[in-house]
Symmetry: D2
Subunit: 353 residues, 4 copies
């Protein structure tokens, strides 16, 4: 059950049919979960903005750095050129180069890319080193390619899956979560989808209820480990340029804040925002110097901001509700959110009737 | 009564004795409220990091731009040099140049500044044009100087005062609000103080309770006016350099998010963060090429981040609790937050025993 | 005579008919030179991207900060929204607020702007406090408005005029300078125009000839005064979005570098870049959420980069060639570039046949 | 012979004894040149700021992005935390992940790093795909480790070596180049060293002489390939914090400009600046919340700016003077700079007596 299944509504906008990033037309997600022996608890998650050859049909994109204690690859080129030319991969901190290599190999091998000799792979990560023996770097290019090939539209698996296999959030088992919002017609009717890899700390709030405080479940030294991070991927079919995508990305951190996140010193919090609008695609080569593109006006951005705030909050909560107890490296166990207790608190606060 | 007087605790850290920005030793605040006839509802608020000659003893500072639809003066020099050399002034949008002129005049005239010929005045603003006939630009340099001279330590007036005289927040009367947090000794025992000029929109949450949604009191067109903004001033006695002050400033927006703010397109949301630590002051002139300064390590920043998130949330709520009904320009009235109803909601949610 | 009149060609691209920023169709420049008594040597220069109501028909714009020890107004809103809504004013450091007030007054008073209550004036400055008694702030709003009203297409006066009346560059009299480049047809045939207010230091190079070094005319303490700065305005009719305008602006600093500038600690070097392309104008109000605009592709930017580098170098040299000896505040005299000597050096280096 | 050996002096400051980045005490450089068969022309270059365990004794650092069409790894963490914790590796575009993996392996394996589970490898690149069959990604982790182990103080090999084995600059063979400057005692007596991997385009100027124009040797389409880039590494023993290191890094682009570089659209121009000052090292762990560090004052930065401009210009010229003809992938040959002709031009311009 996801949090909304219990009758808890986050925010005032409506989610899409799947309440997932895949509500944005064409978006695909694939996971590879790598659970091996007692000590490997990691994986990879791939997100595609469309089904075509991405380097030949780039998409407008921006990355916002919530806190930069992270190893995300691809930042500066996205910032400079305003576009994304590969699938987005999420994985663990020390497997970023492996995933970049996988994406480069995937891209070079695609039909039509025979002369490509520059690839800007966007690979994000969080550090799952508490449950996963991360120093072994036991994730192969083939396993990353599996996530790429597994990518599909439709329902998205959440919790202990893909890049979320070994992550920890607010001291509970975190993982992958997703949510979406659809704007009212007068605001454009666009869809905004969010997917998170939750691995961060703070003082947990669920729908405004101070769960972390009530449970006494937060770091009393306020020294969150350097492992704490959140990767956030935002997709929308609204026709946005890179400047407004960066503004949109920035708001996702406000959604994280509503769950009690504080972007601690050790966190690598990045938000990657992409417009999937077909008419905004950027061809690799063109005889034309000029491309004419529809662009949402600044004034129309506010509803999208609200949408991404709400969807990010709910995606994080979904990651916590979906994740299950996990035992891993050195026999450590991280327990799932105690849902019974939390639901009881939500009832007492009037969030569930 | 402030929100904490009703037994509502925001967050897990303790506030200082005054629960105000003036809990940071040496910090002074002064207001000038300009209420004239039926149409002028504006003012100025001045904040000083210390009592000395600021251009001769600059303080480490940073400004974070939450959303830049605003007219704040002084940004680029603070960014480049990492310091503040004047008091901070808050006022209305179209009175920024008047306030800058006042600060320049004030600085040039101070004893010891006879040869100064460059002054970087930091002046922030929000747009109070709904209640205030802002186009008249009816605020004088003298009135700004009044706020400067009125600056004092001790209790800070909140609500419809100074730069908050005519502001509107979540559709209710906004204004000035303040709060503080003190870190545990093992985290350094530092104080973090926040002062806000609240003038923004979103879907109001009070201590996690969805007040805006319950009251149906939010823009159903999601078209927040360009007037919506929040100025946030953060002071701390922790010895921070400009880089870590910018990181601290960034977290204040997470506190705003917890009140339901979304940094709408039309908002000018700026956070100015300053270290008041005496040993970090930067002399105007020095024979030494090198200055040796204590600097908080990156790893010690997390508790400060939590402090600024909590204090910002509470400062905004304090601004709403202190503000009172105001009638102004064109006979428009903005009502205060309906405290009775809100307190009832807080009780029902278990936030007040 | 301008440097090109002597047969010196800067770079490989061709200038426009006037070799001035006004080669870009529609661009207008106006000056007010304020020379009063023995001690006032300052002024204002106004640059318009088009002839219409700028706040109603905004233009795409970006500002690049070469070094931010300056008081430029309007930066953060241009960065956030990607547009310019007023004429650009250049003046002296302490007269920025006066100029902002003038621009606000001008904008509020324009027909059609009766309900406007937010104006983002872009006002740049350099510090002419060596020749000008800057602390007197003896420039009035009316004088700034004179520059605004004087703005016209056609030839641009250079040297000791407008905002360049009292400036100093490489230890010689600086001032206003301008230049332009026209791209080859296959690169789009666009025009790039540059106007500078030169007031900075370094080790002067003229067309690659080490004039400063040969003359021994540079600071042997390498302690350039905080007064040293360069304001650079770039206009182009190429259809650029804000992201590519920022990239274009960034290259102007490379042109400054070719004259021997080093962006010293005390400099406030800002580049404001604007696209004047009619089809890119941004209406203040619109019923459409989406605007369809032609945008130059990233791949077509390189020739524009070359153009702005060359035009900036030549504009700075033009400011030095046009400026004349000036005596001002405290009887100080700054001499013009010794053109005879410099031309002799250029001849010896084979730059002049 | 390097350019200075012919009597050409770049700038007004004096170089260090080796006129190399290794004039900065403790700095080490190592190369691995990978020339294999007819088609592999690439390599790796490693630069160390000191001899210790870098992750245990981090150094203050900053990265400036001149133009971000590149794949440099490690940017965001350096920006956020202000430090460098690994050696810097330069290589080719598609071998970045291999080099990152090599650096991670090297770091994890160092004595004292047994519990390290996060490593921010800083790896830069340019695209040598014209002479090197880059799609083969034929550089191994072992080969990168060879460059790391080969790192040493003393003279630095230039030209077709290490990461410069296959690069092209201004249409001539580029490669590795280095230079240094020593400040006068009254400016602190610090050393600034620069190392470049030159692979970019523009219109070549040598010591201000328009070599590219005279030879007609520049792209008449002004369409520089996406392969064009310059990696610049700056080391100094001046005690600088990250903010001032970023400012220093920014000036290196002004040095590039003096050689005729324009930071074309396709370039990935990055400057990595590091302070090697011992007292500024940042311990991985510390019981103290506060570290007291000497920091150069803003006012003392200008001579360092001049130094980095001059050293960057000369390092690029050194790379061109040292590089030799190279034949590679698909039988393509890139010729070295025609030194005889260039020296003749320099004589005619009076640069050589």
């Amino acid at each position: 059950h996801r949090i909304r299944d219990y009758g808890v509504e986050i925010g005032v906008l409506k989610p899409g049919p799947l309440n997932a990033i895949t509500d944005v037309p064409g978006v695909k997600v694939g996971h590879f979960s790598h659970i091996k022996g007692g000590n490997i608890r990691t994986g990879a998650t791939a997100i595609f903005p469309h089904d075509g050859n991405l380097i030949q049909e780039k998409v407008p994109a921006a990355i916002y750095v919530g806190n930069g204690f992270g190893k995300l690859g691809g930042y500066t080129q996205v910032k400079e050129l305003g576009n994304l030319e590969t699938p987005i991969i999420l994985t663990n901190t020390l497997s970023v180069p492996t995933a970049v290599n996988a994406v480069i190999g995937y891209t070079l091998a695609q039909p039509g890319n025979e002369t490509v000799r520059s690839v800007n792979a966007v690979v994000g990560e969080t550090n799952d080193g508490y449950l996963n023996d991360i120093r072994l770097r036991d994730l192969s290019e083939e396993q990353v390619l599996y996530a790429i090939k597994a990518a599909d539209t439709g329902r998205v698996r959440e919790g202990n899956v893909g890049a979320g296999t070994g992550t920890v959030c607010f001291g509970f088992k975190g993982g992958i979560g997703t949510s979406s919002r659809i704007l009212p017609e007068k605001a454009g009717g666009y869809t905004v989808g969010v997917l998170v890899q939750s691995n961060f700390g703070g003082v947990l709030q669920v729908a405004g209820v101070e769960v972390g405080k009530k449970l006494g479940h937060y770091s009393d030294s306020f020294k969150y480990a350097p492992d704490g991070s959140c990767m956030i991927v935002v997709m929308t079919d609204a026709p946005l340029n890179a400047r407004n995508l960066e503004r949109l990305a920035k708001r996702a951190m406000l959604g994280l804040a509503r769950t009690g996140g504080i972007a601690s010193n050790g966190s690598g919090d990045y938000v990657i925002a992409v417009s999937t609008a077909e008419e905004c695609r950027i061809p690799y080569q063109s005889d034309d110097l000029v491309q004419t593109v529809p662009t949402l006006r600044n004034q129309a951005m506010t509803p999208l901001f609200l949408a991404v705030v709400e969807a990010t909050e709910e995606a994080i909560l979904n990651s916590l509700f979906a994740a299950e107890n996990m035992t891993g490296h050195k026999g450590r166990t991280v327990e799932a959110l105690p849902k019974e207790k939390v639901l009881q608190m939500l009832k007492e606060a009037g969030k569930i009737k």
